[in-house]
């Protein structure tokens, strides 16, 4: 599971929607490609790589949902308010599983609801008759309907209460272990992400700034912004101490600062940071990437950003399924 963290307006959702080519006018994807590396199906070897941005509409429609499904923040808005949950499952299955008879579609939908801990009777419910948690479960069940390889979870639990959030996350983790899909989990809550994700990518002002295994990122952030962001979540244990967060406020995206967008809020900003945009580059030998001039060339890295990586078992690398890159 890859976590994508960042504040509101940092481009997390835009990136996810862009990856599925769902952005609305006037948004425009000006460059780049989204490479979808399909997993071999039935052991027939790789199915090949599709550039979703270049793919035709029919190809795209085929990939959508059957391979990549999304769960958005507000399930109430994601579900069609005027039809039942069951009918929405039905629409989905009818399109992607043309051979499936109606009764089977219905029982499959019931199965899916069961999988997320909901009663199959709920198929007859309208979205407004369900609680927030239930709707989100239904949405997750719908996302699983075609056994996609990738699930994009865009703040799926932000609107819910902590307990419901935790229940749904547990459910999701269990399903991921059972079904083996890859997940992109988007949230502003870095503290939650550290718990959940294998790997975390941090975005700021529309750019990817740091990418590292979750534990490394949490215990030894390399990026000043990540360091500051971690400092924004008061701990649940230990002595209370004053924390400072990050000074200033997120930049206006219509008027980004020159150079590194974070430099006005960065305590360690160099002269260079004001002029040039740092590229996301690997830090030698650590398997992580960071876009910060402090880690380039011979700049002196502040002690806070140079903590040793925690010793963890090297996690098994998940095969790359989707790759977003700039051309």
């Amino acid at each position: 599971m890859l976590g994508l963290a960042g504040e509101s307006g940092s481009g997390k959702t835009t990136l996810a929607l862009a990856a599925m080519r769902l952005l609305r006018a006037p948004a425009l994807i000006t460059s780049g490609e989204v490479l979808f590396h399909s997993r071999p199906i039935g052991g027939d070897g790789p199915k090949g790589t599709v550039d979703l941005l270049a793919a035709g509409l029919d190809d795209l429609r085929e990939v959508r949902w059957s391979e990549i499904a999304v769960v958005l923040q507000s399930a109430l808005n994601s579900l069609n308010p005027v039809t039942t949950i069951g009918a929405q499952f039905d629409d989905l299955l009818r399109v992607h599983r043309p051979g499936m008879p109606g009764s089977e579609r219905w029982s499959r939908a019931g199965e899916l609801l069961d999988m997320v801990g909901m009663n199959a009777d709920r198929l007859r419910s309208y979205p407004h008759e369900l609680s927030g948690g239930m709707r989100q479960r239904a949405m997750i069940a719908m996302a699983l309907a075609l056994e996609p390889q990738i699930m994009i979870l865009d703040e799926p639990t932000t609107a819910l209460d902590v307990v419901t959030q935790r229940e749904i996350l547990e459910e999701l983790m269990g399903l991921r272990d059972r079904l083996g899909f890859a997940a992109l989990f988007i949230t502003h809550d870095l503290s939650l992400l550290v718990e959940l994700a294998d790997e975390i990518a941090v975005m700021y002002a529309g750019r990817l700034m740091e990418r590292a295994p979750a534990a490394s990122l949490f215990h030894a952030p390399r990026l000043p912004y990540t360091h500051g962001l971690l400092n924004c979540f008061p701990p649940m244990h230990g002595k209370r101490a004053r924390m400072e967060g990050i000074p200033g406020s997120p930049p206006d995206l219509r008027d980004l600062p020159s150079g590194c967008a974070f430099h006005p809020r960065c305590p360690w900003a160099l002269e260079k940071c004001k002029q040039a945009i740092p590229r996301l580059e690997p830090i030698s030998g650590s398997g992580r990437e960071v876009a910060c001039w402090l880690h380039h060339d011979d700049a002196k890295v502040p002690a806070e950003l140079a903590k040793a990586d925690p010793r963890t078992e090297p996690r098994q690398r998940v095969p790359t399924l989707i790759q977003v890159s700039k051309k």
Partner: protein
């Protein structure tokens, strides 16, 4: 510190039912939502009291009751030990001020920052001789510097954090002694939340304000508050000094909340201490409202509302598990074998 300080503002046994109509029309049934029942809160000068709970727990209703935006159905609001006057006279407004959740909604977008700050000054005749100076001073106090840069701005020209600071400045304008902050940071970006929380902490320390901090985020309550009060389904379930509460939660609901909260330091995956959703407030469960979700529920929990038991000095929990066996026997015909064990074990594990 004066340990037994008299509270500046106190809510005693506050109860509020909201009447809702099930549907519109001739035959609409009027139902009452048991929003808040028998909640007592004490706000002391120089202290932050946090109210924590899920949505619908009645946190905001308590805040509004204390701000006297709404009237309690029963119970009293005491200001300096005296019952607050009826209505909402200006004398009360001068003592108790409120900061709202959404800084985008709490500042009138047609008025400049100056108007928002000048109005309370004028209404309460604070600094009649030097209004401009007072406005600048307020902005400085909430760290909006230089003040001249902000007075002529419209709210939409400010960032979320700046707006919330203006809202706090407006509340401070009348030099109140009590500040009621209803989820003041939940709408703000993560990176600026701490700044606003630190501002509240400074106000508490430097100006000896009594602050009520309403939040759903137990971590921030632990960070900011001196005392934390946990609410569930309209009732107060636990109250303790903040560190004590998070380190040794006594009520199963508090434990559930803590087990669900994000915690990056956690080594093992969390075990949720209970499941399910909060009950309907129109037909709340009998006895302890948490009993349908409680892993330790006993028979008595279904029958009787638990009173508050002292777990330790300053730490109370409304849970039968903390009743001394005698009390439980007395009140429940000998059902005395309830397990106290799991709770204690659980508490020690942390």
């Amino acid at each position: 510190m004066n340990v037994a300080a008299a509270p500046v503002l106190e809510g005693r046994d506050l109860t509020k039912y909201f009447q809702v109509r099930q549907s519109r029309g001739l035959f609409a049934r009027r139902l009452s939502v048991h929003a808040v029942e028998n909640v007592s809160v004490r706000l002391e000068a120089g202290k932050v009291t946090a109210v924590v709970g899920e949505s619908g727990a009645g946190k905001s209703t308590v805040a509004r009751l204390l701000a006297r935006i709404i009237r309690p159905d029963s119970g009293q609001v005491l200001l300096d030990g005296r019952p607050a006057p009826g209505g909402r006279p200006r004398s009360y407004a001068k003592q108790v001020q409120m900061v709202f959740q959404d800084p985008f909604a709490s500042l009138n977008s047609v008025h400049r920052v100056r108007h928002n700050l000048v109005r309370p000054l004028k209404i309460h005749h604070v600094a009649d001789d030097n209004v401009e100076g007072a406005v600048a001073d307020l902005l400085r106090r909430v760290a909006l510097k230089p003040p001249g840069h902000f007075t002529e701005k419209f709210p939409h020209e400010l960032s979320g954090g700046q707006r919330q600071r203006v809202a706090i400045a407006r509340a401070l304008a009348v030099k109140p002694r009590v500040l009621i902050a209803d989820e003041p940071v939940s709408m703000l970006d993560v990176s600026i939340r701490l700044g606003v929380l630190n501002l509240l902490a400074d106000l508490r320390d430097k100006e000896q304000l009594a602050i009520l901090y309403v939040t759903h985020d137990i971590a921030s309550a632990r960070y900011l508050a001196d005392t934390v009060v946990v609410m569930y389904a309209g009732q107060l379930v636990e109250s303790a000094p903040s560190v004590e509460l998070t380190d040794n939660p006594a009520h199963p609901y508090t434990q559930l909340l803590l087990s669900a909260a994000p915690d990056p330091d956690r080594v093992e995956p969390p075990q949720l201490a209970g499941r399910g959703a909060p009950p309907s407030l129109i037909t709340p469960p009998s006895g302890c409202r948490f009993h349908p979700r409680c892993p330790y529920a006993m028979d008595i929990c279904k029958q009787q509302v638990p009173p508050s038991f002292a777990v330790s000095p300053d730490h109370i929990a409304a849970c039968w598990l903390h009743a001394k066996p005698a009390e439980r026997v007395a009140s429940n015909n000998g059902l005395s074998t309830a397990p106290v064990g799991p709770l204690e074990q659980d508490t020690k594990k942390r």
